[in-house]
């Protein structure tokens, strides 16, 4: 049966990028549709009526939303190059840390980015504590998934690219070599991995976008 795989995302969506990577790592052909979130398409509203957000994966007409749910779906549907371990405990750990990344790391780094002065200092402390936990997680491993890129690498992958953008715009170093040698090493390995590397959104466009977001936050 001819597979039809569509991915609704935006050009800059971090969560959409996870799905691009997952599909590419599995060697799955897909059509990419970049949405304009200020003018959502009928397709998006139809396929994600609950949240009306990207990313949405549409596989043979059936839609799946929420990026981590989508990655698990991809992993269960296409068995080559597995992203999650078969061991239930390892799987649970990967899911726990992915959730930690989304619930804690992302928001704490965003806080550093949009705040100034004392609030920024405090936000930086929180972000560093969260990052320390990720640093410990990498001990003895090349990737969070071990020898190969896995579920958790895809879930945390946004760090590998976005951090540099945010650091440049806010003129503050969040991930430094002394405190986070393993994390920096992972960021390099991950960024430069084939298939990952080719999918990054254009850096200049990201800088512009996040600069505007930062300015809007301080209004």
């Amino acid at each position: 049966m001819a597979e039809e795989v569509k991915l609704l995302k935006t050009w800059s969506s971090l969560f959409g990028l996870r799905i691009v990577w997952a599909l590419k790592l599995k060697g799955i052909q897909f059509d990419s549709i970049d949405e304009d979130l200020t003018n959502k398409s009928p397709l998006l509203l139809q396929y994600n009526p609950v949240y009306k957000k990207v990313p949405v994966l549409v596989h043979n007409g059936k839609s799946i939303s929420e990026s981590l749910v989508i990655i698990e779906y991809i992993d269960e549907t296409w068995k080559q190059n597995p992203l999650l371990s078969q061991d239930p405990y390892e799987k649970a750990m990967a899911r726990f840390w992915a959730k930690f990344g989304d619930d804690k790391v992302l928001s704490s780094i965003w806080s550093v980015f949009i705040n100034q002065g004392k609030e920024q200092e405090e936000a930086l402390q929180v972000a560093m504590e969260n990052l320390k936990l990720l640093e410990e997680n990498l001990k003895g491993k090349k990737f969070f998934g071990g020898e190969k890129i896995g579920f958790l690498d895809l879930a945390l992958g946004w760090l590998a690219n976005l951090i540099c953008v945010l650091e440049e715009l806010s003129d503050i170093k969040i991930i430094d070599k002394e405190r986070f040698p393993l994390l920096l090493g992972w960021m390099q390995e991950f960024s430069q991995a084939p298939l990952i590397n080719e999918s990054w959104p254009p850096r200049e466009k990201l800088l512009t976008k996040f600069q505007i977001m930062r300015e809007n936050q301080s209004l």
Partner: protein, 220 residues
């Protein structure tokens, strides 16, 4: 159906702990529940097993800790596959995970907004809460359970939260049965299950607990 030692770090009124216990009951797994004194002082074991969040529930399986209730329920389903909580096909599983995530993101916070507030704020919190239940009714459709014909993953994730509904009905001056009859029917069906009836506490006791919490937080 023993596969080692199973301990649950527990708090009787936590719907998140109830999820874990119901899942274990469904699977016929023997476990030891250890009640934490969350107000008096968390145990060493809890602080050591869940250093990041320092919260219950924690499942200790042969000493290895697992945290975050939805992750724990998935783990239980994988280690003790029978009877299955998730459907066999990838799409069904994705739908189940999607709704479990929705419930996690929305329901308990919405419940909290009602009992933590008064007047107009509580009123709009009630509207928000009922809206969420209506969305869940949409997901339920004509099925007996979220899982279809049998009690499944989403049912396990959702049913414990309903033990707090009586309390917010009292504070909010409404009844889920009147506003969302389909959801209410689903609740009643789940409560007929042995595992659920055994674990879900008396709603009056939950109500008393919430009254105490309100006093503690100076809401009156």
């Amino acid at each position: 159906m023993s596969k080692g030692e199973v301990v649950v770090l527990d708090f009787w009124v936590s719907p998140f702990c109830m999820r874990v216990k119901i899942a274990l009951e469904e699977k016929g797994v023997e476990y030891e529940g250890r009640e934490e004194d969350l107000f008096g002082g968390k145990s060493e074991l809890l602080l050591k097993s869940n250093p990041i969040y320092q919260k219950v529930p924690v499942l200790l399986h042969n000493g290895k800790p697992l945290c975050e209730s939805t992750t724990i329920v998935s783990y239980i389903d994988e280690v003790w596959p029978s009877p299955p909580l998730l459907p066999p096909c990838a799409y069904g599983r994705a739908q189940a995970r999607f709704w479990a995530d929705f419930i996690d993101k929305k329901v308990f916070d919405a419940v909290g907004k009602i009992w933590r507030s008064k007047g107009k704020v509580a009123e709009s919190a009630k509207e928000e809460f009922l809206e969420i239940l209506k969305q869940l009714e949409g997901a339920l459709g004509e099925k007996d359970y979220f899982g279809g014909d049998s009690f499944g993953f989403v049912d396990v994730i959702a049913i414990p939260l309903t033990s707090w509904f009586h309390a917010v009905e009292k504070f909010g001056g409404f009844k889920v049965e009147d506003e969302c009859p389909k959801f209410s029917a689903w609740m009643k069906k789940c409560m007929q299950k042995e595992s659920v009836a055994k674990i879900i506490p008396d709603p009056e006791k939950v109500y008393e607990f919430v009254i105490m919490m309100r006093k503690m937080q100076g809401i009156e």
